[in-house]
């Protein structure tokens, strides 16, 4: 099966600055890959390049079979990006924002309603203008928009930021459900204790390049014998707890 993401020596420029300086990365359907690295390592740029928002100027870059060096816009309707800033209109309610997201793809409004309910955005939270919600609640609305769109590739930039413990747990469940349905997830994080247990692989970035790779928590859990006796795993990126 063709990989969902296939980057080979991919270079992307942000102005004159090489935000990606020759990235090699492959991501299969049903796989969760966590990207770690210091600020400025290129994690967000990698996600934006996968979303077709940052043009790849040289190398190979294919996402969902679409060559990003030829056309970076065609892939956009098939991916879901949860960035630092929530794609929400402050004057519109959670329901109106999520419905706009699904209608723009021609999906039925029922998809929005189901996603809102899944994220616990019911009652007053559903009808309050998102500008009056807390940062964590806005994050949940943005997640509801992503869930409702059912993208083939989830691109999550620091998805745990601003979420409380129940919401972080729910995020883990949503990622597991998405990969069970065949979606691929690429996730950047500064919180490895939260993200690595969700992942099949962990890649580290620095200077716009992939600098290392190792197995993630999901793979460790799958290969552990027996899994119950091995509640934690360690790697070169430090110890993490396996849920």
């Amino acid at each position: 099966m063709a990989p969902v993401v296939h980057f080979r020596a991919a270079v992307a420029l942000a102005g004159r600055f090489p935000a990606l300086a020759g990235v090699d990365l492959s991501l299969q359907a049903g796989e969760v890959v966590v990207v770690v690295g210091a600020n400025g390592a290129g994690k967000t740029s990698l996600l934006r390049a996968c979303a077709g928002l940052l043009p790849v100027t040289s190398g190979q870059a294919t996402v969902l079979g679409i060559d990003l060096t030829e056309d970076s816009t065609a892939v956009r309707r098939h991916v879901g990006l949860l960035g630092h800033a929530a794609p929400l209109y402050d004057e519109l309610s959670a329901a109106e924002n999520v419905r706009f997201a699904v209608r723009s793809l021609g999906l039925p409004v029922s998809a929005a309603d189901a996603a809102l309910e899944r994220l616990g955005l019911v009652g007053r939270l559903r009808t309050t203008p998102t500008g009056r919600l807390s940062a964590g609640q806005r994050r949940r609305v943005a997640l509801a928009g992503l869930v409702a769109r059912r993208p083939a590739l989830w691109l999550l930039d620091e998805p745990h930021a601003g979420l409380d413990a129940p919401s972080r747990s729910l995020l883990g469940d949503l990622i597991s459900e998405a990969v069970s349905d065949g979606a691929a997830v690429l996730l950047s994080s500064h919180e490895p204790q939260l993200s690595i247990p969700l992942s099949d692989r962990v890649v580290s970035m620095g200077g716009g390049r992939i600098t290392g790779e190792e197995a993630g928590g999901r793979r460790a859990r799958l290969t552990a014998l027996p899994a119950e006796d091995s509640p934690s795993g360690t790697g070169t990126m430090g110890a993490w707890h396996v849920a």
Binding site: L53, A85, P87, L88, Y89, E91, L92, S104, A142
Partner: protein
């Protein structure tokens, strides 16, 4: 494209209805322009009546800049800008939707403003169809050109100050043709008024077509 345009127009109008920027800022601003220009001309009714169409269209023109700035600012946040690019909506649909939302606001503004002009300057429209057609054509042209130049300035930090400099000279033909057509409508001279529609029609069509074609690339460049 049309479905997308309706979706975007509905979204922008709903946001306007909630924020009430048009109601509390654009309409009062237009009335201020009306009043200040009438003060500048003086209390004599005759020159005021003669200048009424020009004053009306200057107020509409300045209000267009405010309405377009508001339309651009709705998508100016990093999240909403990226969200719209990832939404799957045809850029031409975004352009048409945003232009339709601005046009509808301008039409409502013109109705309110004309009531003000009638009251302040004691003028009456004698060829109603000419005034209505001129207003509709001018509004389409103003909205399309405004949204197009709004997209051009959208990604710039100085967009709020740059937009009037970019767009007001471009809109000058609408000011001229709209004023002359309304002057003819007030005088009951339909013949000379229709001549000015020949400027408004191509202006509206050209900016409609350019906007549909160029909005996508401009959105990417911003």
């Amino acid at each position: 494209m049309w479905r997308d345009a309706l979706l975007v127009a509905g979204k922008d109008l709903r946001i306007e209805a909630r924020s009430r920027v048009a109601l509390w800022q654009v309409v009062p601003f237009a009335f201020l322009v009306l009043l200040l220009l009438s003060f500048a001309i003086g209390p004599d009714q005759s020159p005021l009546r003669h200048a009424a169409p020009g004053i009306f269209w200057i107020a509409v023109l300045f209000s267009t800049v405010l309405a377009v700035q508001r339309s651009v600012s709705i998508e100016s946040g990093e999240g909403t800008r990226d969200g719209l690019r990832l939404s799957g909506i045809d850029p031409a649909g975004i352009f048409l939707g945003k232009a339709a939302a601005v046009a509808l606001q301008l039409l409502v503004l013109q109705i309110v403003l004309w009531a003000g002009v009638t009251f302040l300057f004691d003028v009456r429209v004698h060829v109603v169809w000419l005034a209505v057609v001129a207003s509709l054509l001018a509004t389409v042209g103003l909205a399309c050109a405004g949204v197009l130049y709004g997209a051009l300035s959208a990604g710039l930090r100085v967009r709020d100050t740059l937009l009037p400099i970019l767009v007001l000279p471009v809109l000058a033909p609408v000011l001229l043709a709209g004023s002359k057509a309304w002057e003819a409508a007030l005088d009951g001279n339909a013949g000379s008024g229709t001549e000015w529609l020949r400027i408004l029609i191509p202006f509206a069509v050209i900016y409609l077509v350019i906007g549909v074609v160029l909005y996508g690339p401009l959105q990417e460049a911003a």
